[in-house]
Symmetry: C2
Subunit: 367 residues, 2 copies
């Protein structure tokens, strides 16, 4: 599929906010970068993993840093080009395609902007099926690939390479402290993989799903009185392993937030539109981790929590939430691969220090 | 000069403790590594910078980390070999010689052990003329070379490269946080330079001076009733720009120390052997920074403060100082190049947050 017009980019960015589950960095910056490419006549091809040769060289390109800082950075194009160059020099061969490390947030769009700029296809897949705060939280890593060599660079040209580590968690720890030293926001090329790796380990079809969501919201505003009705027809298709429901309809009465160890940590408290005794809370570590309604867990990582304007169904990022805002909260099932025990170990509740067990969002009591 | 016997190594290590001015990491580990090489018949050539071709490729090899942790690490040989390999791969050519980044502490001996292992000469020069806590505190850096690319590795094989930064201070900051993440102690190859750079920017003759000091102490114990008398004949030669004096003769009554941000931070308090009202203090940041006698500054960085056993004149590292210990404290003039204004800016008192002006140790009131 060729991404060749500005509306597709807006749709992608809208979908990426929803799949960013509160975090992942605001895709708006990526939208501007990609729209600039398209205006200048450089389009980008989104290809299915099945189109890759098994021995193709595929790499990820991603921003790393606190999303509250991320929104202030714009000169990503040159940095990403240099990161691709460094990866190619190290690997001793040309990169054949780019794969987003995460479909949620800024890192879904950055690869498209770079792909358009350098003429490389982007794969219709990713490693997170949403956004996560850590580099090691990918199906790539769970199934044996490593983030290294990971090339890091900022706009000043400061350049660091994490060449090899014993675990991707250590790569994450190093990338985090290096990012802090280099100004809280950097870009990276990482996860060099083969075409075969992508076909067997990635979350397939996630980029076109992102586009489908963004376009679906836009069209639902025209075709339905309540756009959520149209949106849920896309998100909730049990026959296709898609499950979604509205978890809450309310307004924000409190937000506590801080940037801690380079992470955006927050708690969002809401009450029902019609019933102030109906209390809803979301815990945030860059992304939404867990939602409780009247003290009961109704959605938990890696399942997705999304905050949307209750009238327009426009997805809203976590750092934009503010007192008094009226939202509908969606809960979405993660991709089946992400609910496997080996995956839950790396990005399930316990990986974030939560004591709750994972429960499937479709199994909660909310109708 | 060929370093081919165990006594030379002990002499070098003894001199390196004195020139380490309290820090630099205990050379004892380096002594063991180098003695092992020599026992196995691998000697190392110490060559003068003048013997280098102008276009020779010279690199430094150094341990980075808190010296209190440093003493617990032993498997440096393989790590240093890998670091040399990585530098050569990156530069696309063989390294011709190794230069110690600092003549004080462990990092004076590590390059010799590696040189013996791989058959490379080590240059009779360094970049600090003593030990300093930061990577950017070298004459190399002051006069325009950069520490990058800096290759970092630990015994587990975790490998990070600081490829390029806008300042060596930033390289230091990155190396420091990476070191903390990789286990508080790593080795590195850094400061790739030309032979011409070394001839014009290094502190020349410092390694043979280190050997001269270590041997001088050993011989002075035999030839003098008071070994300090013999030692001062080496250290205090005004005609050769060497100045030294005994700053204090006393015992330790208090030591305050902590490891903070990967640095060994301490205050050593002493009183006179015969006069408890005669008070002497040393401030430490890995190395001794400033010595005061009864509140008056008598020696300050980059001039060298050395703590020696008051009977045997054996130099003692800062982390080994303890309550009740009887010491003579020496003050030594830094190499003239290091007292230039552009050098004082990088490793003079203000670079360590001290408000005192630099004063030459030979100009204090102590006779």
């Amino acid at each position: 599929m060729l991404i060749d017009n500005l509306e597709m980019v807006k749709d992608l960015a809208r979908g990426a906010v929803l799949l960013g589950t509160g975090g992942g960095g605001d895709p708006y910056i990526g939208q501007l970068l990609l729209q600039q490419q398209i205006r200048e006549g450089r389009f980008v091809e989104l290809i299915d993993a099945s189109e890759l040769a098994d021995d193709a060289l595929v790499v990820s390109i991603a921003g790393v840093g606190a999303p509250t800082v991320l929104v202030e950075h714009l000169q990503a194009n040159d940095v990403c080009q240099r990161l691709l160059d460094r990866m190619e020099r190290y690997m001793g061969r040309k990169v054949d395609a780019i794969i987003p490390v995460e479909v949620g947030g800024l890192n879904s769009i950055i690869p498209l902007a770079l792909g358009a700029q350098v003429g490389l296809p982007v794969i219709n897949a990713d490693g997170m099926g949403r956004a996560f705060p850590h580099i090691e939280m990918t199906t790539f890593s769970v199934y044996g690939n490593t983030a290294c060599p990971m090339f890091i660079e900022n706009e000043l040209g400061d350049a660091v390479t994490i060449e090899k580590t014993t675990t991707d968690r250590k790569t994450e720890d190093i990338a985090r402290v290096v990012t802090g030293t280099l100004g809280a926001m950097v870009y990276s090329s990482l996860y060099p993989m083969s075409g075969h790796d992508v076909k067997t380990k990635a979350i397939l079809g996630s980029m076109s799903y992102c586009l489908e969501i963004g376009r679906g919201i836009r069209e639902a505003r025209i075709n339905y009185d309540d756009p959520f009705e149209g949106l849920l027809k896309i998100l909730d298709q049990p026959e296709n392993d898609r499950h979604a429901k509205i978890l809450f309809d309310g307004k924000i009465i409190d937000t506590k937030r801080e940037t801690r160890d380079g992470l955006h940590v927050a708690t969002i408290k809401m009450i029902g539109i019609d019933d102030p005794s109906d209390v809803f809370e979301i815990e945030v570590q860059n992304e939404y981790l867990v939602a409780t309604r009247n003290g009961e867990t109704v959605c938990i990582v890696p399942d997705l929590i999304a905050t949307l304007d209750r009238e327009s169904a426009e997805p809203v990022t976590g750092e934009k939430l503010k007192y008094g805002q009226r939202l509908k909260i969606l809960g979405l099932a993660a991709s089946p691969i992400m609910r496997r025990p080996e995956c839950l170990e790396v990005f399930g509740p316990s990986a974030f220090g939560l004591s709750e067990e994972f429960i499937c969002v479709e199994d909660n009591k909310i109708k």
